[in-house]
């Protein structure tokens, strides 16, 4: 049976919107997740270097089950043009990124705050950035995170 995804989304939004909302409290707006810095500008967009890292600055980390985890890509490039990519966890897309690069040589892509990495499954998981445009011959590195089997308490994140 084919499921109508729009109906699912409408149902979800209806549930969210129809819930009691008192007392109300403002929450911060979403922060910028793409940053640029200086360098050459002309010519088509080409990628020279890609670095992926967790907040500990390294390629591996451990996180408790249901903890919080984010990652960052630092991309050095020449030229300008369209940049499209997807964050993948165990080959599954968890977030799509698209921006137009017009100036600079370094593009920093933070995982957007709403994105939740699937860290409810204990064990080892792989995280990478699939760059769809521009096409590059670089082999993009893969980060490893280990989810332990212990439940994380609210606000207590153990990232080593």
């Amino acid at each position: 049976m084919k499921i109508n995804q729009w109906a699912v989304w409408i149902l979800i939004l209806g549930v969210v919107g129809g819930t009691g909302c008192s007392p109300l409290a403002p929450i911060p707006v979403q922060s910028e997740t793409v940053h640029f810095s200086g360098g050459s500008t002309t010519g088509p967009l080409t990628i020279r270097r890609v670095e992926l890292r967790f907040s500990n600055g390294q390629a591996e980390t451990i996180v408790p089950r249901n903890g919080k985890l984010s990652t960052q890509a630092i991309i050095q490039f020449n030229g300008n043009g369209l940049f499209r990519a997807s964050w993948l966890v165990d080959d599954r897309v968890v977030e799509a990124v698209s921006t137009t690069v017009t100036f600079g040589n370094t593009l920093t892509v933070d995982m957007a705050p709403p994105t939740r990495l699937p860290i409810f499954e204990p064990g080892q998981h792989r995280l990478t950035l699939r760059i769809e445009q521009p096409v590059s011959s670089l082999t993009i590195p893969t980060l490893i995170f280990m989810v332990t089997a212990d439940e994380n308490s609210e606000g207590k994140t153990q990232i080593k």
């Binding site: 403002p26 050459s40 451990i62």
Partner: protein, 636 residues
């Protein structure tokens, strides 16, 4: 099936072994059982002077005599169900106290006693402590699914080791992690994380994954494998580091002869007027700048070597905050071609002052074309930039504005264009109680070349973007909506228009159910090519009943590019049901957290242009998970 039983046997043995070890190691933090009488509070290692004493006697309802240092305090004991609480009128004095409990009406174990250590200071003769804050996590799964075929068993384990010893102000500790993944027939042992430390007072010698505190122009917090020494006085500090320039993995020392970074940093705090100290930091680093490969880096840049040093001062004077730095670097941009050493300077100055409620900030930075920051992959070079920004609040509104101008190609290299980038930004926020928080921003930018290499066309890119963000939330729920539209006019490479919409939310219901949906839509018109990307995720966590919980994430991505370049839809789902069996094992293995799991993973990909790419993989896993802290302390 033999393989399965072998796996099962090994897993069960490991399971019991881990639980037994954890029970022994963790026994000091558990309610101490002495026959049928248990000491609930205080835990021996957490005893504080103001602590009360709580005894649990199970089904036994009395009478009970409690003696503290031989004094009968039974008359001051409150009896609540199976628990007996003694709250002393004065805090316990620091030192050792003898607690004795007599259950005169109990059939067995009518007497129990403990020795409590009160206060932070250890007792005479107990100056040394051995401790463990380690943990062990193990999962094992039987996998069912056509994709797996022979790969029908999967196991994951992780040992997080954290052990140490303390003696007075001196502490020695060791931390490491070892991950193990077995998806037969593949075995993978991934040791990562390594830190051995010797600390005395505020001084520290560390070996392993050390962090170096640089300055913005030299190396911002640098995490690498190596050795670091820190000495900290009242106003001055010194850090010395020798480490691998690469982000390393495994248990390699990071001290091999190649790819080294060596550095030193000194900080000094001058207590100035009005308690606004001047901080001076001097940093010098030497080593390889870019490696061509490492576990998390892909690069086509050749390795280069060099050194960099910087002096930073920051503080506040006459109401003006300042942060200034001067740095110099010398590097060989390609050690393979031996191009020779290049030297250059960089400097920056930041000032901020509040005038009439308006917060003003000014920045200037100049980084030479040949300047290189060691192991700072986000470094900016060959740029001079001025920036002014200010912001002020008006009741529930906040308005901020920024202006910046930068120039690249500082040496007027005729082989490259001289490019200016001018930007203006405006942001308005409205945060009013009981109303959604609103944020509007507009950015205008222009990238224009002043001169170009002979024969090259002029660069003149106009960039405008507007963003609106709306946030709303209440008790148990929150939502964010962000809309953005950007227009780029680029005569050289073509115009672009990008529209993004992102909706995200979070819903929690009675701490039993949480749903976190996200939905994003992106429409790009780039140089005549159209692309629409739609993506959604739904993450759920549902505590169905006390021992049973369900977690999962579903994603949906649709990608459509004009001219038949792409047209595909991918749906994935992971659902995981856990039956918490910890309570049933508590009496045997009190320290563990264990669960039986049933997981489903599905991945459906439909390519509307090339059906040979279509796939539909489904996997079901039946497994067990165990987590066990391996914690404890021993005083001697």
């Amino acid at each position: 099936m033999n393989k399965f039983f072998q796996f099962l046997s090994v897993f069960v043995v490991l399971f019991i072994l881990v639980l037994r070890v954890s029970s022994v190691l963790g026994s000091t933090e558990l309610p101490l059982m002495n026959g049928d009488i248990r000491l609930i509070e205080p835990l021996p290692m957490q005893t504080q002077a103001e602590s009360s004493i709580v005894i649990d006697t199970g089904n036994y309802t009395g009478p009970l005599i409690i003696l503290v240092d031989g004094v009968d305090v039974s008359a001051m004991v409150k009896h609540e169900g199976a628990q007996w609480r003694y709250q002393p009128s004065d805090p316990f004095a620091a030192g050792k106290h003898h607690l004795e409990v007599l259950a005169t009406g109990m059939a067995s174990s009518a007497r129990a006693d403990w020795v409590l250590s009160v206060g932070e200071e250890l007792l005479e003769g107990e100056k040394e402590t051995l401790y463990s804050k380690s943990s062990f996590s193990l999962t094992g799964n039987q996998v069912f699914g056509k994709k797996t075929q022979d790969q029908d068993i999967a196991a994951n384990g992780n040992l997080a080791l954290n052990v140490g010893a303390k003696s007075g102000e001196t502490e020695v500790s060791f931390e490491s992690n070892m991950g193990y993944s077995n998806t037969s027939p593949t075995n993978e042992l991934t040791p990562f994380g390594l830190l051995f430390q010797v600390k005395h007072d505020k001084n520290r010698l560390a070996f392993g994954d050390v962090v170096f505190s640089g300055t913005p122009l030299t190396a911002l917090p640098l995490s690498r494998r190596g050795v670091s020494a820190e000495m900290q006085g009242e106003n001055a500090g010194l850090q010395v580091i020798q480490a691998s320039s690469r982000t390393v993995t495994g248990w390699n020392s990071g001290l091999s002869s190649e790819n080294q970074i060596r550095g030193a940093g000194v900080t000094y705090h001058l207590a100035g007027q009005n308690d606004q100290p001047l901080r001076i930091a001097a940093v010098a680093l030497d080593g390889e700048i870019l490696s061509d490969s490492s576990p998390n880096v892909a690069s086509i840049a050749a390795p280069s070597r060099g050194s960099v040093g910087g002096v930073l001062g920051s503080g506040r004077y006459a109401g003006i905050g300042y942060n200034a730095e001067i740095a110099a670097s010398a590097n060989n941009p390609n050690t393979l071609s031996n191009e020779g050493t290049r030297r250059d300077l960089a400097g920056r100055l930041q000032l901020d002052k509040t005038v009439g409620g308006v917060n003003l900030r000014a920045n200037y930075q100049r980084t030479g074309a040949r300047f290189a920051s060691i192991a700072n992959s986000g470094a900016t070079y060959d740029r001079e930039q001025y920036a002014l920004s200010g912001g002020a609040g008006f009741g529930t509104s906040f308005l901020s504005a920024s202006l910046s101008r930068s120039r690249d190609n500082l040496d007027n290299d005729p082989a490259r264009p001289v490019v200016y980038n001018n930007n203006t930004g405006l942001t308005y926020s409205l945060i009013q109680q009981n109303w959604p928080a609103l944020s509007l921003s507009y950015l205008y930018g222009r990238v224009k070349s002043q001169s170009e290499p002979a024969g090259d066309p002029e660069t003149d890119i106009l960039n405008q973007s507007g963003t609106a963000a709306l946030s709303y939330g209440g008790e148990g729920w929150s939502s964010n909506l962000v809309l953005s539209d950007s227009w780029i006019a680029d005569p050289l490479n073509g115009d672009a228009n990008t529209r993004n919409a992102a909706l995200s939310g979070s819903l929690k219901w009675l701490d039993k159910l949480s749903l976190e949906p996200t939905f994003s839509y992106s429409n790009i018109d780039y140089n005549g090519m159209f692309q629409k990307t739609t993506a959604g995720t739904l993450t759920l966590n549902w505590h169905i009943i006390a021992p049973l919980s369900l977690a999962g994430q579903m994603t949906w991505t649709k990608n459509d590019i004009s001219d038949n370049l792409a047209d595909n839809v991918e749906r994935t789902a992971i659902l995981r049901m856990v039956w918490d069996i910890s309570p049933r094992l508590k009496s045997l293995f009190p320290r563990q957290h264990s669960g039986l799991t049933l997981s489903y993973s599905g991945d459906h990909y439909a390519d509307h242009l090339d059906s040979s790419q279509n796939r539909w993989d489904q996997t079901v896993m039946l497994g067990i998970q165990v987590f066990s802290p391996l914690e404890g302390e021993v005083h001697f």
